[in-house]
Symmetry: C2
Subunit: 273 residues, 2 copies
Amino acid sequence: MSLSLVNGRLASSIDIDSRGLAYGDGLFETVLLSQGRALWLDEHLQRLCHGARRLQIPCDLAAITADCARLLVGFSAGDAILKIVLCRGVVARGYNPLPAETQRIISLLPAPASSRQHWQQGVGLGVCQTKLARQPLLAGIKHLNRLEQVLAAGEMQRRGYIDGLVFDEAGKLIETTRSNVFIATAGRLLTPALDECGVSGIMRQQIMVAAEKLGLLVKEANIEISALYGADEVFICNSVIGIWPVTKIECMHKAAGPLCRRLQREFESHFYA
Amino acid sequence: MSLSLVNGRLASSIDIDSRGLAYGDGLFETVLLSQGRALWLDEHLQRLCHGARRLQIPCDLAAITADCARLLVGFSAGDAILKIVLCRGVVARGYNPLPAETQRIISLLPAPASSRQHWQQGVGLGVCQTKLARQPLLAGIKHLNRLEQVLAAGEMQRRGYIDGLVFDEAGKLIETTRSNVFIATAGRLLTPALDECGVSGIMRQQIMVAAEKLGLLVKEANIEISALYGADEVFICNSVIGIWPVTKIECMHKAAGPLCRRLQREFESHFYA
């Protein structure tokens, strides 16, 4: 199963001269389709619009929403991924971004393999040697320039890890190759500040809101590896996998703790029927 | 005129699920076709292979060379651009890079407008507010993650500049949005070191070799804006425009000097018949 609309038309390909391909001049979202609905679609579209404003790419939210709805009409039970790409489209060769028509590419993709085992039993993470460059202009948004993540993911893949923790060049924890990170220390939740690099995840946002509602203290902070090793709990999250406890970092064992389990209970119904 | 081969087949589009589009997981080269030949094609292909080794993308040089030759058969007089893109191709969703088939996309594009006037009379440059992030893993190679250049070029476009100087976050000069930079001070040539960011240009390489042959001192160095303002000469270069003297930086006037003119004479026959 793989079905795509490019600017509202069924298509399986895009023009070679798309600026998305040429320069990664665009943004994307991956939305979980679970139990017949697109999880947090509005929040994903808000982040897309926020990124589009940052990159000054026109974002026709009505058209994107309509394309998503069209693809979802044919979709019934089972899990899948709705991928939304917005690029600046095709212009003459050269970096100059204006004027350009935009390209929206909405695809229905196969669901990832079920990760219920990781949700329950947790995962072991490596520590990536690949460091993230600090670029405040691109921090937080989910843009198409993802070579750092590809390099870090390749590193973890070669070492046999499912995922790995990624730091910036100054030694601050940022995220994993595809998820955000929380740590719990003395009953308080901390997650890396993402003003210099990293992707500000929808699941991370949902967890911060839920934690406050539950009366838990949660704060963005600069987290170094020592704080990570010293933490009572570590867990990772994204809007496709939900929340996974981290049970090992390199050779150091951790255990799934009460705050992680409390938050998992809060969100379990979104991910598992 | 726009003609492309994708993995050896005539095509005008690529699969939506190309990793080139999804993550900018690839590299490119733009080669000037001038007077019936591809200028420094071997050097461009060497840089492509170097980048491919860095990103661990298999690079079938024989196939790329054959595709270039096929496109060039139909090409006669006049100027044009040969664009070569190499991406990791299509794999399942997710950053993990292996295993993947590669995609090579070779295109014949219209020539840029003639820039002989800038070659002779020089150009004025702005100073970009957009800073480059320092990422040694990607420095020097010409990869497809070019959002920083798009942002910087957009900034210069809005301010009415043809091009602009770009610095890293520490204040070191790196390049312009699409060219490398040389300065001349007391008869000596300096060009920014590119071990933390920037693209190591083919024209820059050719100039360094030519300068040494001419007995000129040329060195890679850390260059701050004060050195740039104090320099006797500033010029920019890439393998499509050749060498342009810089006659103004923001409001400060500069003049095309003897070292720039000497190097231009060395390369003029490659760019202008």
